[in-house]
């Protein structure tokens, strides 16, 4: 039986939090990837790209690994019982439960982060205790069978680390070379620790509203 990997998508997900890890996992030998949603209708992301699911939740095969990407829509997805039920039920039977970015709050609200060290997007780290988790310091966190990571692009690093564990380091390295993933960001602005203060302050203002939305959604989840 090939390994079965399923991504959960919902309106307002950050498309790169899905497409980064998907590109990595698609390179694994003997693996089938699924993109699962409530229905087969294309799902709006945070850009003009809409995501056509390959499976409706009801028709999704058993998953060895479930991956929940994040995005601004995560707080709304928390209020969606079909999505949360899928994550809870399929997560329970999966060997690995994983999330990218604010997808951590979806697997967290589903019960998978209790007493775990976890990662999420930098702007949401202080909310991790609301789902019983401790914010770890690393970009990619691994606690038992639960893998989480920092925001959006961290999904690529995370998926390569997972690929090394579930297949082999050689398989992960082949995928990394095929993707020519030898990153060279033009600025040192990708971490809240090092980003220029004005850049960080501008985003902090924008994220404040979204943090509130997430907090409210978690309170009623």
């Amino acid at each position: 039986m090939p390994l079965s990997i399923g991504f959960v998508v919902y309106p307002g997900l950050s498309q790169l939090a899905l497409t980064g890890p998907l590109q990595v996992f698609a390179g694994l030998p003997d693996t089938t990837c699924h993109i699962a949603a409530k229905t087969l209708a294309p799902v709006a992301s945070d850009s003009v790209l809409s995501i056509p699911p390959t499976r409706a939740f009801a028709d999704c095969p058993d998953l060895d690994l479930i991956c929940v990407p994040g995005g601004l829509g995560a707080s709304e997805a928390l209020r969606d019982s079909e999505t949360m039920t899928f994550i809870r039920e399929r997560g329970r039977s999966a060997k690995w439960v994983t999330s990218v970015c604010t997808g951590a709050f979806l697997i967290g609200a589903a019960g998978f982060l209790k007493n775990r060290r976890a990662a999420t997007h930098w702007a949401y780290r202080d909310l991790l205790p609301l789902v019983g988790a401790t914010a770890g310091g690393a970009r990619v966190m691994h606690d038992g069978n639960v893998w989480t990571c920092a925001g959006v692009t961290a999904g690529i690093d995370f998926a390569l680390a997972i690929a090394a564990e579930i297949a082999s380091p050689g398989a992960a390295q082949s995928i990394q070379l095929a993707m020519e993933y030898d990153p060279a960001p033009p600025f040192d602005a990708g971490s809240a620790k090092f980003a220029p203060e004005p850049v960080k302050q501008r985003l902090d203002v924008a994220y404040n509203r979204m943090r509130h939305a997430m907090r409210d959604a978690l309170a009623s989840a």
Copy 2:
């Protein structure tokens, strides 16, 4: 008028070569992104993700920037007159002509790389002279109004560099921080210069067939 950015998609593109830069450009102020293809039917990529275009070529507005992602399907796309005509015509009127990965051969066959220094996926670098270009040494190359870059994931670095030029360094840094792009690959295997030799050899064998397909397609383009 908002800045108009258009991605050209075709069957067999590498989805991350599109979705990486798209995530960056989607964060630019006062910018509209389009995903253009022959028809509005979803386009198969190199993974289970199919890409729903937002515009058919015939209905695509004028583009300030055209971006052609790469992928194994690039050699077939070279033989497609509608796709090549769109790239040629829209490239001529665009302010910036750009490509990711093997998309370089599509803008090259359309005439935009003559006597230019350019980048492409490592496995195809030696074919750049077939479109009149010289292989540059950098991951992201900028020669006049033409930007090209290395394989797949280089599209993220490339798009941030372009964002800094067409908007501002501050805008690019905000996008980088929002995407938490502070990469930490688990292995040093993303460059053909440093990847372990067995990993490189395995891929070289696989890429040989694809290099032949590209060479044949360029010969008849």
